[in-house]
């Protein structure tokens, strides 16, 4: 009988261990990965909406900000930045515009995902307003001007003189009501 209890012991402990590893993979690894990327800036993810505070504009320094627009795989929209680059002073608030047009005959929903290069600039690229915070429904043939308001943090590392902000636009029509903001 001693054997039966110790078998059950091993069984229960091992199954618990397996369950813990499953939970670890499902609920710990993804947030851990996001956290790691956020700390290191790998992946160029930018933060959520930033509330502007009074900062001193550093007029002695100029940073070139370039804009790139990419259509993901099968996304058929026309999508490009109206200006391809601007020069700003760190701390200065700047508004720029992307243009999107639904070229198809169907109502569609798009979602732009931002990315900043170099990686060590991602934390210093602050967006007070961005069309990427919401999805973009466009009826068949409609177009829209999509605004981004951003501030470059004056703490931007001195080695960075050029920052590239890239948007990839995805077709999320089939995803129904799911929005990025709900997932975060």
């Amino acid at each position: 009988m001693k054997n039966t209890t110790s078998h059950r012991n091993v069984l229960i402990k091992s199954l618990l261990g397996a369950a813990v590893m499953f939970m670890f993979a499902m609920f710990v690894l993804p947030p851990l990965y996001d956290l790691f990327c956020e700390i290191t800036g790998i992946g160029g993810k930018t933060g959520d909406a930033y509330t502007a505070t009074e900062v001193v504009v550093d007029t002695t320094r100029e940073v070139e900000v370039q804009f790139v627009a990419t259509n993901n795989a099968t996304m058929p929209w026309e999508f490009y930045p109206v200006e391809h680059k601007v020069v700003v002073h760190p701390g200065e608030q700047k508004e720029i515009v992307f243009y999107a047009k639904n070229l198809t005959g169907m109502d569609m929903v798009g979602q732009a995902i931002p990315n900043v290069l170099p990686n060590n600039a991602a934390d210093y690229f602050l967006k007070t307003e961005c069309f990427c915070f919401n999805n973009q429904p466009l009826a068949a043939g409609d177009d829209a001007e999509l605004a981004v308001v951003f501030i470059i943090d004056p703490d931007l590392p001195a080695s960075v003189n050029t920052v590239t902000l890239s948007y990839t636009i995805f077709d999320i029509t089939d995803r129904g009501s799911m929005q990025v903001s709900q997932l975060k």
Partner: protein, 518 residues
Amino acid sequence: MAHGPSESFFSRWLFSTNHKDIGTLYLWFSFAMFLLGGAFAMVIRAELFQPGMQLIEPEFFNQMTTMHGLVMVFGAIMPAFVGLANWMIPMMIGAPDMALPRMNNLSFWILPFAFAILVSTLFMEGGGPNFGWTFYAPLSTTYAPDTVNYFIFGVHIMGASSIMGSINIIATVINMRAPGMTYMKMPLFVWTWVITAFLLVAVMPVLAGAVTMMLMDINFGTSFFDAAGGGDPVLFQHVFWFFGHPEVYIIILPAFGVVSQIIPTFSRKPLFGYSSMVYATASIAFLSFIVWAHHMFTVGMPIAGELYFMYATMLIAVPTGVKVFNWVTTMYKGALTFETPMLFSIAFVILFTFGGFTGMMLSIAAADTQYHDTYFVVAHFHYVMVAGAVFSGTAAVYYWLPKWCGRMYDETMGKVQFWIAFIAFNITFMPQHFLGLAGMPRRYSDYGLQFADWNMVSSIGAFMYGGAQLLFLFNVIRTIGWGKPIDDPKVWEGAEGLEWTLPTPAPFHTFSTPPVLK
């Protein structure tokens, strides 16, 4: 009370709780899967025999590469070693049976269903999984055929089976060793398996997590791996290889154990460096958890990450080198004979080491950019998986088959099979190194003309290698049915260990009273 097996065929095999019968079931199932996965490989090599598209559509080719990998890894190699564990571990540690015999039955009998589900997708609209055995998202999510849900369900069942099998082994080894069988007296096959079992319990749930996240992305609108919803496809690769790297050691560690049993027998010397073998196995198992990203050097990692994973990977060569050294030293000045199991084991040591060296080349992050996803990688992992796990499994069957059925296999046929397999294996995979270094990418159904010659050579080798397996099947069936009866408990002159104190053939129930150890 001596009970024999049930009289009725169905109740004997369907309801069996006997470790030997379940081991036999595992071994036959894995051999069937080996032939199926081999048939897929033959389709691949037939299509690649010449440049251009001859036999099949590219879409079906992708399904073949995917199914070949999945069936071989999860259906052939892993169940084969679980079968060997079932047969041998109780006999090696002096236990009457496995600790949890009913769970043992369950863990085997869900496997055929898992593979029926997986293989049935080939006959469905949209075809089977076509995203490679590594099923990277978004190929396996956004762009997958609808049958991906069957694949996910199949993987879940396989994982459950592996976890239950492992728990059984852990419980057996911890609780059921004969009096006096201390941990450091256990045969190395038992040691490597118990370490493997811990690895399996740790990482199969991670695989289950990965496919569950896929399932939710596909069907329930989450975005774990979907960039459009704020997820990240690279996360999939991290989760997968966090499972996948320990997985390759799960496949090879029991193979190490088998070879560590066979080489001393035919060298007529004890294994050199037993305790260092145990520690090396444990070190390899530990290191397997911290090197996963060397599979993804080209994904865009920071340089610090590449360096870390490069050096950590190279570190694995140290315990592995200890093992190879010990095997060679066991043979050194031994009274060697070259029966079929020994031939396969020596070939294992040589070819596995070769595969290890190409692994070292691949571990160099800077050079991996060139080798990544080429046939060089394909050649590398077939040297460690086929010449490693499959050769070792074949050696194990030849080594223990006389014990199992009380009949001797045909030595000449075994040796013929060995030489065909050894030569054909190298004809198949050696040229793939050259193809890979010349830049031929893996997983494509067609290739540039400059790759034509070596591909034809490789295909010819593959057909020969496939033929050698049919000879193996024939030899095994012939032995069981018509082999020369033997009754020497030791079978092999130099064999040591509890399993060789039992009568030959091994009775249905063994060690009902624990043996006494010296």
